[in-house]
Amino acid sequence: MSNLGECILVVEDDAQIRNFICYSLQSEGYKYIIAKTAQSALNLLVSEQIDLMLLDLGLPDFDGIDVIRKVREWSEIPIIVVSARDQDKEKANALDTGADDYLTKPFSATELLARIRVALRHLYRQGGNRQQASAQIGDIKIDYDKHLVYLDSNEIHTTPMEYVLLTLLFKNAGKVLTTSYIIKEIWGVGYGNDTQALRALMAGLRRKIEKNPAKPRYIMTEIGIGYRLMNE
């Protein structure tokens, strides 16, 4: 995927990590703008043409969640959250508030760039609005027109629910989806937060597409957060 020189807003108060992020971005040909506080980040979002925001959750002035909420009032730009390891609740919260993905410190440049690519790809796909007839990830292929799923070119039978789940994951390939988001998408808003039903559904789907459900190749579990369909 060629790089169009997108502009990325890096909101991070630690100089070391900021330098490292900026260098990684530069080496991939992205433009970047730096913000050290949440307030300056919000100002920059208004004044500059920005395609994606990298947001550290532990900022000195604002809670990261509040920043996401404010941005989401008027902008749909992809937000990737950067957080420490013991902030699972905050992570899930940030994702449900509107963040697109998260990175846990310490992260590698490869990880960072992969997440940025995924987020930008989803941005373009939304803009393109083009409904594909089929999609393939690894050995799994979905034929959207015929509602069929193939594994290694062999058709596999999925229940309607499993099909909905799989297409949802496919459309968000590479992105983490929180359990509550998936439940809302599949069962609707009024269903509450019955993670057990989702677990059972996920177990059924995994048994159909994974060789070993406990060593999944496609659907990864992000404990405490949700699921991610691997596409790279």
Binding site: Q16, F20, D86, K105, A109, N212, P216
Partner: protein, 508 residues
Amino acid sequence: MIELKNSRIAASISYILEMAIFLCLATVTGYIFRMIKFPETTIVLAYLLGVLLTARFSKGYIYGILASVISIFAYNFFFTEPFYTFAVNDPSYIVTFIVMMMTALLTSTLTSHVKKSAIQAQEKESETKALYLLTNHLTDASDMHDIAGIATKIISTVINCNAACLCFDENELPEKTFVQQISPEKQIYRDTENADEIKCKTEELQTGYYTDTEFYNWLIYGKDSVLGIIRIPANSAAVMTEAQTRLLRAMIESTALSMDRFILAQQRIKYQEETVQERYRSNLLRAISHDLRTPLSGIMGTSEMLMDMSKQSDPRYELAKQIYEDADWLHSLVENILSLTRLQDGRLTLNKQPEAVEEVVGGAIHHIMQRSPEHDITVKIPSDLLLVPMDAKLIEQVLINLLDNAIKHTHPGNEICVSAINDEKRNCVIFSVADRGEGIAKEDLPNIFKMFFTTHIKHADAQHGIGLGLPICDAIVKAHGGNISAQNRKNGLGAEFIFTLPMEVGSK
């Protein structure tokens, strides 16, 4: 005892004499009234006065009642016709007798009653005064022995004896010495004569007190244990009146209250100190860990970047790699310290939910494979979906720590196996992480779950451990109500770590 009886008889005799005098006086007055031709009713009133005075100056109801009966007969005998006989000519006198009798009885009982109430009120007042004195002094007490001393002094004054107080220590055992009042101003410490026997007797005790050769011993019962004994010398205790006993009990009760209050205050101070210390400790650890974490992330990122920038043949690549690995090691140390602090704080609340075993195992393996992709990990889990109540994030941590250990001790290409079995009989799930490393030395086996333990039998090229990974696993599994153990594999080399998680949600 005999003295007491004698004094009682003497009192009765004096009361009877009093009664006789009052009634004689009434009779004489009656004669005088009759001589100066006063109406007969005045004579009746003179007798009533006699009854009233008897009741007033004697103790109990008995003399008043006796006086009323006697006065009826006397009136009948001396003042109704025919005189000097108990016969009556005019039957209307019968009515007079009855009314007189009732009036006399009522006045005598009322008087006695008023008197009794007055005495009781006086007793109550002195009781209250004594109690007030006691509590007032007890509030100034600064420790247990102070309380014992004050109680002894005041009880001695009130009961008028040489009382003593024996305190019990924290383990509810009698102390070696006890305090006794020997004169109004002087207290001495005496050796406790037979601590075991006292302990024994207090435990068997059914009534409020027990006796030994020298003392009557009243126990001081605290909120949940015996706090001490108030000892009253046997000769004083034997002659204590009911009111005194009641007062003594009340005083013991206030002593118990103030001892309890003191113990509680002491405990609270101790807990406060402990929590403050604990908080300092964990805050410090957390602050250090947090401040280490951010720069370490920077170091790791930057060194990784340097690795990317240099070719693998370049010596700078090796140097950058070394930096990265050391930073990574330091980072995991920091993370471990953080988790352990949180676990030991007890502030960790388990977020227990039914979780799919395959997801937790899969998550852990995914995590490990990112770090060490060269190892192959075999997974054996039940083919059916198995939901186990657990805090998934923590159990994932346990699996990651165990797998990390396994990888450290196993050469790539050798087998590492993770398995989970549903043990329906014991209603739990058994997880196992087995490797093909060199196993665990026999002398290390009992210690590996202890904090900061690392094996002393080192291999030249072995990575140095921190000795925190397994204690964390131990703490997490125990918090779930499970068990963790380690053993060497029976068929061939290698170690195996096994932990269980109970299936029922309720158990903690």
